[in-house]
Subunit: 353 residues, 3 copies
C-alpha cells in the first residue's frame, strides 16, 4: 500500500509544504523513520529530529517554526497528534479488513443455557458465560474470559483474554477491557471483632461501567457493598489500577497506571490523574482536577480545575517550590546555624560593652 | 421481603427510637436511601445525612447525639457498622439460598487422576487440578482456575475465577481468594555474575496461607526460596498487593491495596497497613503497628502499636508536623533571608560605630 | 539424598573448616536450620545466627571473621549467595529429574491449524495458540495461557499459567513469564477531542522480549503505538510492574515489584530500580543508574552509574541528608523563631540606646 503526500494532506485537511507526489508505504516513529516512512512530530521534545530524519513525509503542527531547511515533505495540521491518530485508525481499519474477522463461538466454550447472545458475536475458546448473562450485538469475548451470572455487556464491546467479570456487573456499549482485568471482586470490608478477628461484610452491590470506557490490563474494580461502583461514560483507565468499592469516576476522566482509589471516593468529570496516585476513602474530587504522578490525596478538593502535587497533595506550583527548597535543606540549615553563631557573637559583644 | 423496625431491633439487640412498625424492603447507602430503605451511619462524615435522608429506618451508634429532629425510625446499637454487616450477612444468606447453589464438576475441566477431591465441591469449567492436589469438602473453585501439582486447599474455601496456585502451596480452611490472584510464583532471586548477567536462584519453597485468610484480586504472593512464605490466620489482603519470597504476615493483620512487602520481611500480628505502602526486605514490624498509606519503611519497628507515616516513615504525629512545615518551606526560607539581612545591617551599624 | 561437607566443598571449590564427613540431607533457611541442614550466610544481618544455629554445614563468605567458636562445619567461598544458588540449582535439577517431565499437549487445548510447534513442547490444558504462532523447541506453556495470532516464542522458554500474550508479540529464547502477566495490551494513547471526549489512538506496534528475560506475576507490558516496546536481553522484572508503550529496558537491568515506567522512556543497561518507583514518559536513564524504592523520576539522567532517591529524585546521599532534616523541620522552625525573637530584642535595645 502506498500513499502520496497529496492524498494524506487531503485526508487530514492539512497544508502541504514540498512535493505533493512524495510517496510513503510505512508508518514509523520519528526516531526510526527511514525513506518511504510517514511520521509525525507533536511533542516539542522531538523537534530535533525534524532536521535529520530520513522520513519522506512528516505531519507537524501548523504553528511549528522551522529554523533550518527540512528535507521531508511537510503536512501542517492543527493537531499533529490527533491527525496522526486519525491516520493510524484508517490504517488499522484497512489492516483488520484484510485479516479474517473474529466471529463465531470457538470450541470448547461454556455458555449457560439461560444466557442471551446478540448477533455477530465472537466467543473465544475456554470462555465462560454464566446464567442469565446478556451479551450485545458484535461483542468480542477473547479466549479464557469469565462472564459471571447475570452480567450485561452492551453492543460493540471488546473483552480481551482472561478478563473476569463477577456476577451482575453491567458493562455499557463500546467498552474495551484489556486482558487480566477483574471487575466486581468483593469490596475490602471487614468489621473488627472484640477478639481481634475480622468479620467479612458481604458485598451485595455491583460494578457499572458506562459506554465508551476503556480499561487497561490487570486492573481491579471492586463491587459496591451496596449500590454500585460506577465508572462513567468515556472514562479511560490504564493498567494495574485499583478502584475500591462504591467509588465513582466522573465522565471523561483519565487515570494513569497503578493509581489507587479508596472506598466511596467520588472523582469528578474531566479529571486527569497521573500514575501511582493514591486517594483516601470518602472524599470528593472536583471536576477538572489534575493530580500529578505519585501524589497522595487525603482531603476533598472542592474547587474545579485545580492542579495538585505531593503527599499530602497541595497546589502544584507551590509544591514545586517546597520541593526545590527540600533539595537544599542542608544548605538552609547551615544558614540558620551561621545566623545562630552571628547572633551569639553580637550578644556576647554587647555584654562585653 | 419486608422487615419491620421491631424485627431489626430484635435481631441486632438495639434500642428503638420511633415507630416499631416502620417497614423496609431494601438496603441502601445513606446517600441514595429512599422511602422503604434501611440504611446506617457509622462514619461521622455522613452524619449530615441524618437530618435529610428519606430512609425509613437508620442504624446508628448508641452514643450519637441528635442536634435536630430526625424523620427516620432509629435503631441504636454499640457498633453501627458491625451491626449493618451482620444484617447484610443475613440478607446475603437468604439471597444465596434463593439462587441455585454452586456444586458439581462443570465440563470441560481437567482433574489429574491422582488428585483427591472432598465432598460437595464445585469445580468450574476450564479449571485445572494437578497431580496429588487435595481439595477439602465444600470447596468452590470458579472457572478458569489453575491448582498446581500437590496443592492443598482446606474445606469451605472459595477460589474465584482465574486464580493461579503454583505447585505444592498450602491453603487453609475458609480461605477466600479473588479472581486473577497468583500464589506461589517464583521469588525474585538472581545472583549477579562477573559478566553482568544474572543467574536465577531456584525457588524451591512454597506459600502457606492459613485459615480464614481473604486475599483480593490480582494480588501476587511469591513462593519462598527455601521454607515458606506464610500468611497467618485471619489476615486480610486487598487487591494488587505484592508479597515477596519468605515474607511472613502475622495473624489478623490487614493490608490495603497496592502495598508491597519485600523479601524476608516479617510483619507482626494485628497490624494495619494502608494502601501503596512499601516495606524493604529483611526487617521486622512489631505487632499492632499502623502504617499510613504511601509510606515507605526501611527499618525494623521494635515497639508494638506504633503509628507511622512518610518515606522514610517515622512517628505519625511528628510526620504531620514536618509535612505542615514542608508546605510552608518557601515562607521559612523567606524568614531566614530576612534574618540574614537584619543581622547584616546590625553588624554593619556596629562597625560604623 | 545425603551429601558430605567434602562433596559440597568440592562442588563449590570452597575452603573447608571442620569435619569433612559431616552429612546433610536438607537445605534450610538459617533461621530454621536444624541438625542435618545445609544453610548459608551472605547478608551481614544474619551473622548473629552463625553462633547459635543448629545447621550442620554452613556456606559463608571467605572474608567473614569469626568472633566466637562455631559448631557447624564451614565452607568458605568467594560469594556465599552465588554458591548457594548454584547448589539450589543442582538440587532443583535432581528434583525435576525425579518428577515426571512436563511434555505433550494436554486436552482440551486450542491450537490453530496454522500454528507451528517445535519439538518436545508442553501445552497445558485450556491453553490457546493462535493463527501463525511459532513455538520453539522445548517450550512449556502452562494451562490457561493465551498466545495470540502471529506470536513467536523462542526455544526453552517457560510460560506459566494464565499468561496472556497479544498478537504479533515476539519472545526470545530461554524467557520465563510468570502467571497472570499480560504482554502486548494496547498502549494508553487517546487524543483529546473538542467536546471533552477522547479518541483512541490505535496501537499497531508490538512487544519484543529478548533472550534470557524473566518477568514476574501479574505484570503488564503494553505494545507500542508504532514500532516495539523492547525488553532487552537478560532483563529481570518482578511482579505487578507497569511498562507502557514504546518503553525500552536495557540489557541486564533489574526492576523490583510495582514499579511503573511511562510511555517512550528508555532505561539503560545494568540499571537497578527498586520497588514502587515511577518514571515519567519520554526520558532517558543512563546505564548503571540505581534508583531507590518509591522514588519518582521526572527528568532524564545523563551520567551513568548515578544513585538516586526521592520524589522528585536526586542524588541518593544528598537526599538522605534532606530527609534527615525533614524529620526535624519543627526543630528547625523553632530555631528560626528564636533567632527572630533575639534579633527583635537586639534591635529594640539598640533603638533604646
Amino acid at each position: 500500500m502506498q500513499f502520496s503526500a497529496l492524498q494524506i494532506a487531503t485526508i487530514l485537511n492539512g497544508r502541504l509544504e514540498g512535493n505533493p507526489d512524495t510517496r510513503v508505504h510505512v508508518i514509523s516513529k520519528i526516531e526510526e523513520a527511514g525513506e518511504g516512512s510517514l511520521s509525525f512530530i507533536a511533542n516539542p521534545k522531538y523537534e530535533e529530529f525534524l532536521y535529520r530524519t530520513k522520513a519522506s513525509i512528516l505531519i507537524i503542527n501548523e504553528d511549528l517554526r522551522l529554523t533550518k531547511p527540512v528535507e521531508a515533505t511537510l503536512i501542517r495540521v492543527k493537531d499533529a497528534y490527533g491527525s496522526f491518530a486519525l491516520l493510524l485508525e484508517k490504517y488499522n481499519h484497512i489492516l483488520s479488513e484484510q485479516k479474517s474477522h473474529l466471529s463465531g463461538i470457538q470450541q470448547p466454550s461454556f455458555i449457560a443455557p439461560t444466557a442471551v447472545l446478540g448477533k455477530n458475536i465472537y466467543v473465544g475458546a475456554f470462555s465462560y458465560i454464566g446464567e442469565d448473562a446478556k451479551i450485545g450485538d458484535n461483542v468480542q469475548i477473547y479466549p479464557g474470559s469469565y462472564i459471571g451470572d447475570g452480567v450485561q455487556i452492551g453492543k460493540d464491546s471488546i473483552i480481551f483474554a482472561g478478563v473476569k467479570v463477577y456476577h451482575h456487573c453491567v458493562l455499557g456499549k463500546n467498552v474495551i477491557i484489556h486482558a487480566g482485568t477483574v471487575i466486581g471482586s468483593d469490596g475490602f470490608g471487614f468489621a473488627p471483632q472484640q477478639d481481634g478477628n475480622y468479620k467479612k461484610v458481604p458485598q451485595i452491590g455491583n460494578v457499572v461501567v458506562e459506554d465508551d470506557v476503556e480499561i487497561g490490563a490487570n486492573t481491579a474494580i471492586d463491587r459496591a457493598t451496596i449500590g454500585s461502583t460506577i465508572i462513567h461514560k468515556g472514562v479511560k483507565l490504564d493498567n494495574l489500577i485499583q478502584i475500591a468499592h462504591n467509588v465513582e469516576i466522573g465522565q471523561n476522566t483519565v487515570i494513569a497506571a497503578q493509581t489507587g482509589i479508596s472506598g466511596s471516593t467520588k472523582v469528578g468529570k474531566n479529571c486527569m490523574l497521573g500514575g501511582q496516585v493514591g486517594l483516601v476513602g470518602h472524599i470528593h474530587i472536583a471536576d477538572g482536577t489534575r493530580i500529578n504522578a505519585q501524589s497522595g490525596l487525603s482531603k476533598s478538593i472542592a474547587e474545579p480545575n485545580a492542579a495538585l502535587n505531593g503527599t499530602p497533595a497541595f497546589d502544584y506550583k507551590s509544591s514545586l517550590k517546597s520541593q526545590a527548597i527540600f533539595r537544599n535543606l542542608p544548605e538552609l540549615e547551615k544558614r540558620v546555624k551561621e545566623l545562630e553563631s552571628l547572633i551569639k557573637q553580637l550578644i556576647l559583644e554587647k555584654e562585653r560593652i
